[in-house]
């Protein structure tokens, strides 16, 4: 029996309303017959909410024939909200989400394939490395529009005192140099205890995957049959090993930060307890807002691995995307709205509002984003090297991440298990999980 009909049957029986069909509630029309599309936006910082709302208003003025309604969502619960409304057949028309989520929703058949819907101009604006992030299983399920690389946010005062030269985006440190510098900046014991770096690892899997690319690994590999294979060779584990060394051997990174999220590390950073923080680009906004007066901070490019493709600059990323629900009755118009949102000048506005990097080639070069202030230019040049995260398009990734990789990495970083044990868990237990998703 098809799942859909099973659900319908149960629902209809229970509601004693068998005559009602389960037609989509998407793309409602108001009394005048003008279709209204719901746009679920996940913008949450003040400036970016404002930028999104302004763009919607602008669209509505210019397109009286298709109105868009701004609906506020939240990153915390968007997945649950979408899954429920997809299953129930009442999803929003235009959906703001991120790459990892697309894998499930796209292959679940909830999202429209945008391949034939997007205007050619849109396709040209965004480079092919970015398009790879929204494409899998033969379909294009989301338009990547914002992305953020990891950067090093550093306490310039501390680095200056130690006589350390700051790298620029052209010549980042290597991971080996970074390790030495972190050691140099650390001071153990006493009231002025200090660590060269703090690794906030409350969700360790995506960082480990994305940064393993900088050392030439990727941990998750695509098999010929479309399935996924987990490997942990030397190149794959180099990054994880370094973090473990810093926490366990060098003592240049505190164990207590391993359970923190990025924001939790900021007070310690402002107090000089940590000299450097590897954080997503958008954290600059919080740093700028919360840093004590006269606190001197600087954005540095993330270190690179030796002997990796693209000089070790290629980090993985799961971008923010715009998608169209499959049930939407006005898909062409919804795609046109996405085209409007991703026009170069609009991309720039949205990126500025969220303190992130746009995906568009021209948008990345926009003068307002390449100023030297607040680390913008460094961020944009690091962003130009981003590639798709190894997790994207891998069905079964959430389960592997929750059940296998997160506990295994947390245990490994904190020193509870060794590298062999980590490899065994990630690979053996991991492949078992992924094999279940083969069909």
């Amino acid at each position: 029996m098809r799942r859909r009909s099973l659900l319908t049957g149960a629902a209809a029986t229970a509601a004693a309303a068998g005559s009602t069909t389960l037609l989509s509630g998407c793309g409602s029309s108001d009394a005048s017959g003008v279709p209204t599309l719901d746009f679920l936006s996940l913008a949450w910082q003040e400036e970016s909410v404002a930028a999104n709302k302004a763009l919607v208003a602008q669209w509505n003025t210019a397109h009286p024939e298709v109105q868009v309604r701004y609906v506020q969502g939240s990153w915390d619960d968007v997945h649950d909200q979408l899954l429920t409304s997809f299953e129930g057949g009442a999803a929003p028309d235009i959906i703001h989400d991120e790459g990892n989520d697309l894998t499930d929703f796209g292959s679940g058949g909830y999202l429209a394939d945008l391949t034939g819907l997007l205007p050619a101009a849109v396709r040209g604006r965004i480079p092919s490395a970015a398009w790879d992030m929204g494409r899998f299983g033969g379909g294009l399920y989301g338009v990547p529009f914002l992305q953020e690389p990891r950067v090093l946010i550093a306490n310039r005062g501390l680095l200056g005192e130690a006589g350390i030269d700051l790298p620029d985006a052209e010549q980042p440190w290597t991971w080996a140099q970074f390790e030495d510098i972190a050691k140099e900046l650390s001071r153990s014991g006493g009231k002025d205890e200090r660590y060269g770096v703090a690794w906030p690892m409350s969700s360790p899997v995506s960082v480990t995957l994305n940064l393993s690319l900088t050392t030439g690994g990727r941990i998750l590999y695509r098999k010929d049959d479309g399935g996924t294979e987990v490997r942990l060779e030397q190149a794959d584990s180099a990054f994880a090993e370094m973090v473990r060394r810093q926490v366990g051997t060098d003592r240049s990174a505190p164990a207590s930060a391993l359970g923190m999220s990025g924001g939790d590390t900021l007070p310690g950073f402002f107090a000089g307890r940590y000299a450097m923080l590897p954080l997503n680009l958008s954290y600059r906004q919080q740093v700028q807002q919360q840093a004590p007066a006269r606190f001197d901070w600087v954005t540095l490019p993330l270190p690179v691995g030796a002997g990796a493709p693209d000089g070790g600059r290629a980090q993985g990323v799961s971008p923010q995307t715009l998608s169209v629900s499959k049930d939407c009755r006005h898909q062409a118009q919804a795609a046109a709205f996405i085209g409007f949102m991703t026009q170069t000048d609009h991309l720039v506005e949205l990126a500025r509002g969220d303190w992130m990097a746009p995906t568009g080639t021209d948008a990345l070069r926009d003068p307002s984003l390449t100023t030297g202030k607040l680390g913008w230019s460094t961020g944009m040049s690091v962003a130009a090297h981003l590639v798709a995260s190894p997790a994207l398009g891998r069905r079964g990734y959430p389960e592997w991440s929750d059940k296998v990789a997160t506990p295994a990495l947390q245990q490994y970083f904190s020193g509870a298990i060794g590298l062999d044990s980590l490899r065994k868990k990630l690979v053996r237990d991991g492949n078992r999980v992924f094999d279940r998703y083969r069909s």
Binding site: M1, R2, R3, R4, L6, A10, A11, T13, A14, A15, A16, H79, D80, L83, F86, E87, D104, S107, G108, G109, Y110, S202, S203, A255, S256, A257, L258, G259, M260, D264, T265, P267, G268, A271, R273, K326, G396, P398, E399, D402, K403, T406, P407, Q410, Q411, S414, A416
Partner: protein
């Protein structure tokens, strides 16, 4: 006490006096129009919106239902349960869930009982104390999680700061990311968040304690403890049983707070079984397998509750 009796077995004589004769009783059961009339307003919405979806949810446990419009569902019998039997991760989390639920429920009851007895006294500013005691209830859950994460923050948390100022610890304890401290730390939050409801229920229950019995015991020179065990406790007991049973179920089933605090980490040490089932259903889309987990949890809790309530009933009969 029959609330308890219904989950255990119907015991003659448990609860308020039943109708005197079998005939009178039978008349009251199915045929008494009053009973139906009184039940009807509750029955209709419940049948449509609760029993229906519930039965549907339970039936999924015997299928391979997955999320996605493109996948078909078929009846698979007990396959999910067979798989579940071998799922060691699930049973690990089940053990954690039991520790969590038992600890939180027991601490909640003890602390709330103490608080309810205090708030029942004729103290000054009682109204203020009663209102403040309900603070955890009034704060939205999203905020509770975030506030407690701030409290536990190793660098800037109130807790570590206080301990440092009192020179009790070095002040850099990582409450939520240490393998051994994480579970106790979230249990404290669980107790904190659940205390008001238990307190209010017990406080209302205390109002049923017959005044003159208390007075009489006082005149007889019974001490506070004697008065509590002989007068207060027997009257309060049905309420205690009810709220404890419910608390246990709720605690076993709650995961929102823990999810905000630790997301089940570190190393799976705070991964509660409901969180497990939730992720199975909503993150991996395995509806059938998750429903099977749900059913297993229902079965185990039901057995535990039966044992718990039956023992209590025996005590009551003695």
């Amino acid at each position: 006490m029959s609330a308890a009796a219904a989950t255990a077995e119907p015991r003659p004589g448990a609860g308020t006096p039943p109708p005197r004769t079998t005939a009178a009783r039978r008349r009251m059961l199915g045929l008494d129009r009053d009973a139906w009339f009184l039940l009807l307003p509750a029955l209709i919405p419940v049948l449509v919106l609760s029993v229906g979806p519930l039965l549907y949810g339970i039936s999924l446990a015997f299928t391979d239902a997955q999320s996605g419009v493109t996948r078909s569902t078929s009846f698979t019998g007990l396959t999910n349960f067979a798989d579940l039997r071998l799922d060691s991760l699930f049973w690990d989390s089940f053990r954690i869930g039991l520790i969590w639920a038992v600890c939180v429920t027991a601490l909640q009851l003890l602390l709330a009982l103490g608080l309810a007895l205090l708030l029942d006294q004729n103290l000054r500013f009682r109204w203020l104390a009663r209102t403040l005691a309900l603070v955890p209830w009034a704060m939205p859950e999203v905020v509770v999680g975030i506030m407690w994460r701030l409290v536990y923050n190793p660098d800037a948390g109130v807790l570590n700061n206080t301990l440092r100022h009192l020179h009790l610890t070095s002040g850099h304890t990582d409450w939520l990311s240490s393998l051994s401290l994480a579970l106790p730390a979230v249990i404290v939050v669980g107790v904190w968040a659940g205390m008001p409801q238990t307190t209010v229920v017990l406080l209302a229950g205390l109002q049923n304690v017959p005044l003159e019995l208390h007075e009489a015991a006082g005149i007889d020179g019974a001490g506070a403890w004697r008065r509590f065990t002989t007068v207060t406790w027997p009257t309060l007991k049905p309420v205690v049983l009810s709220i404890t049973a419910l608390n246990f179920i709720w605690n076993f089933n709650s995961f929102g707070l823990v999810f905000v605090l630790t997301s089940g980490g570190p190393g799976g040490k705070t991964r509660l079984p409901t969180l497990f089932a939730y992720e199975e259903a909503f993150r991996y889309g395995q509806f059938g397998y998750a429903a099977a987990m749900g059913l297993v949890m229902v079965a185990v809790i039901a057995v535990l509750l039966t044992v718990f309530l039956r023992n209590r009933l025996k005590e009551a009969d003695q």
